[in-house]
Amino acid sequence: MLFTTIDFIIFFIMVLGIVFAIRYRKFQHIFLLIASYFFFYYSSNYLITLLIMSTILDFYVGKAIWSSKNITKKKILLSISLAGNLGLLGFFKYADFAIDQFNILGRYIDLSSELPSLDLILPIGISFYTFQTISYTVDIYRGKLEPSKSLREFALFVAFFPQLVAGPIVRASTFLPQLREKISNSAGNRLRLITIENKNLKFGITLMAFGFLKKMFFADNIAPMVNMAFDNPIGLESFTIILATIGFGIQIYGDFSGYSDIAIGAALILGFKLPLNFNKPYFAISPSDFWKRWHISLSSWLRDYLYIPLGGNRKSSAQTYCNLFAVMILGGLWHGAAVNFIIWGTLHGLYLAIHKMLLRIFPKISQSFFFKTKIGKIFSVLVTQYFVFLAWIPFRVHDIEGIVYSMNKFILLDFATSETIEFMAINKFPLLLIFLFFVLNFLSYRNGNLQKKISESRILFWFLFLVGVFSLIVFFYDGNPDNFIYFQF
């Protein structure tokens, strides 16, 4: 169920109405779980069984890890959980990719036959909920988290509909205490578990409005320009490639952070605070700063459950660089089983490693006067974003020839303009949106938490804000919106 469809609006209004009406907290709890399963079933039909299987496996394994005193047994149980979740993810997401690579290798060494492709359907949200359940069992294994006492409670954590299909990746340590707090705050069984608070309702709606605006007004309207260039980039001029790359950077940000805003807003209305997933990433002043601002729930997951267990930066420099590479390549692969995502991950691994290396060789460079001035900061932002946007090319262009060509044109400018002028003439509206996006993003950067400020404004101003947002969305609705990009991951 896409957030931007009438289906979701009807679903969400019904959920809110019923949550508001139900006075028995146990029913509220069960109702939210049923609603979340329905949400998943609506898009994925019988594949909901995978979600339920993953839930049951990790609930019981988590309990067994907690109650076991034997470290070997704990390790075996953790391995079962990891094998179950990663096996599920690996099979559905990477089996066909592995078969393809095997067949390519087979052609090189003249194997007479090829393995048939399995043509598997990627279950929606599998990359998100398997990471959530993995973090649950690992945290229990590390002694950082008590296992959930009821299957119902755990199932709601895994399936909670706002963040189920495209994140943010929520940790049990963030979600379960909120659920328990609501229970402990309730004086008796008859009190409501979930109350819709006015403050949360207004802020949640404001966040959702921003999310819809980012996705439906910005991302969906910039997408045609990006597709025009990157569906077949061979032969395009440097400036056309650069414009399309900037467009794609905004499209994917609008798309994904828009989804996150809607998810966080919807959860907040129901009284749950989900972690921030984007924090003005295009104002990052270094590669490591970028990853503290972009898809924060994924990057922090990779840091806590992959980078640090591998040794993080506690070992030799060479080992640290290898760890960074490994984590970012796997982060790239998480986005999809394709070579282009590996290239994207490798590039970011390279950026992080070089940045770390520079800081080691010149430890005082970041403390220098220049980088503390406005010009120094602008310089840092521009250099960082140049490399970030360069890496968006392999994220968007799927074939190697197109990637090499586009990156080459992005780096080595040809200064040709005749086709770029035509390209700009055709894409006036997307270009206007790109300009508008940067202006709004800058204002938001300067003014702090813009959503919060708007949600706290007087009701008349808030009404005008909503009319403006809704009007932009409906007036620029094209009837055939693209799926959220992150649904496919």
Binding site: D7, Y41, L47, N198, N221, D231, D399, A425, V474, D478
Partner: protein
């Protein structure tokens, strides 16, 4: 802090106000096609049509738009003949759509009509994003919801389909307000006697096989099935009958497509297409000239379903020219 009721009322009012503004803009009694100037353009052309020579009309979708009517005209016109060839192809034209404007052609009464039909005229398409959805082995609530929404639309007698034009209408309004006329882009090629189909520089490029495959993969939709009961089968028969009744000689050709495209069409669908052509021919007593697979392996393709415009695809124009000449004799 405002109460829940006030917040809810504010959100609903804001939403309704924006919808109200949009509905004022998309006048429910006006056909959006009119607002977008699509029909108007066509009406204007036919109303001022004035050709003292004999006329030959090429009609069909963008695939016919790639034929070079000037080249064909030069091939026809000798000392004996004096014809003007018009390429009246239109983007996304289908027999059903053409049926609405066939009366214009009948009024002009050309000396010959060449109508190109292809696989896509008789096919249903599926969005590739839908293919990633699992097959429904359990009841699909989305289907039921949308059926009920359709019922609701009927009850309140509103067709929300027109709202899909919102973006185009808004952009058109902005352009008109600030006086931008970009109906002809800077990349357009100009040619005579082809009023509806904008030919672009990029349409002259011939792609290699790999690029054709890439182009096919980048399409958002793909052909799902071709079937005999498709609404366009009846529409094309109706068009032919109207032309025959008005004694306008008509030739039907099946539009050439590339090998890359033909390979994606299943044998069942290929057979269905052949059967459709046979049925149309039998029912209307018109010969259908099969061109759809005659040029499949040649290096003439601008994309999997369109030939490149210009000298690189002369072979196709020559074939159409010879068909016309045979008929004029």
């Amino acid at each position: 802090m405002a109460s829940t009721v006030i917040i809810s009322i504010t959100v609903i009012s804001a939403f309704l106000l924006s919808i109200f503004l949009l509905s004022l803009f998309i006048n429910p009694v006006t056909n959006p096609v009119d607002i977008l100037n699509l029909d108007r353009e066509e009406n204007e052309f036919y109303s001022i049509f004035n050709n003292t020579n004999k006329s030959i009309f090429l009609i069909g979708s963008s695939q016919i738009g790639r034929l070079n009517q000037t080249y064909i005209q030069e091939g026809i016109n000798t000392d004996k003949n004096n014809y003007t060839v018009f390429n009246l192809a239109d983007n996304s034209d289908t027999p059903k759509k053409r049926l609405n404007s066939i009366s214009h052609i009948v009024k002009i009464k050309p000396d010959l009509v060449i109508y190109g039909i292809g696989h896509i005229d008789f096919a249903d398409f599926i969005m590739k994003s839908d293919l990633s959805k699992p097959e429904t082995i359990l009841p699909d609530p989305a289907i039921h919801l949308h059926k009920n929404i359709e019922k609701f639309e009927k009850i309140i007698n509103m067709n929300f389909e027109r709202w899909n034009y919102a973006k185009s209408l808004t952009i058109n309004l902005i352009k008109n307000t600030i006086g931008i006329d970009d109906t002809k882009g800077t990349e357009d090629l100009t040619r005579e006697n082809s009023p509806f189909y904008n030919l672009r520089n990029s349409h002259t490029i011939v792609l290699d096989e790999l690029s054709l495959k890439r182009s096919l993969e980048s399409n958002k939709s793909q052909l799902e099935k071709i079937y005999l009961e498709h609404e366009n089968v009846a529409a094309i028969k109706e068009i032919i009958k109207i032309l025959q009744t008005n004694e306008i000689p008509t030739i039907i050709i099946s539009i050439p497509v590339s090998d890359v495209m033909l390979n994606t069409i299943s044998k069942v669908d290929q057979k269905n297409f052949e059967d459709i052509l046979k049925e149309i021919s039998q029912d209307t007593d018109v010969e259908i000239i099969h061109l759809h697979d005659k040029f499949r392996n040649m290096s003439i393709w601008n994309d999997p379903t369109h030939i490149a415009y210009g000298s690189k695809s002369t072979v196709v124009n020559d074939r159409v020219l010879s068909i016309i000449l045979e008929n004029l004799e």
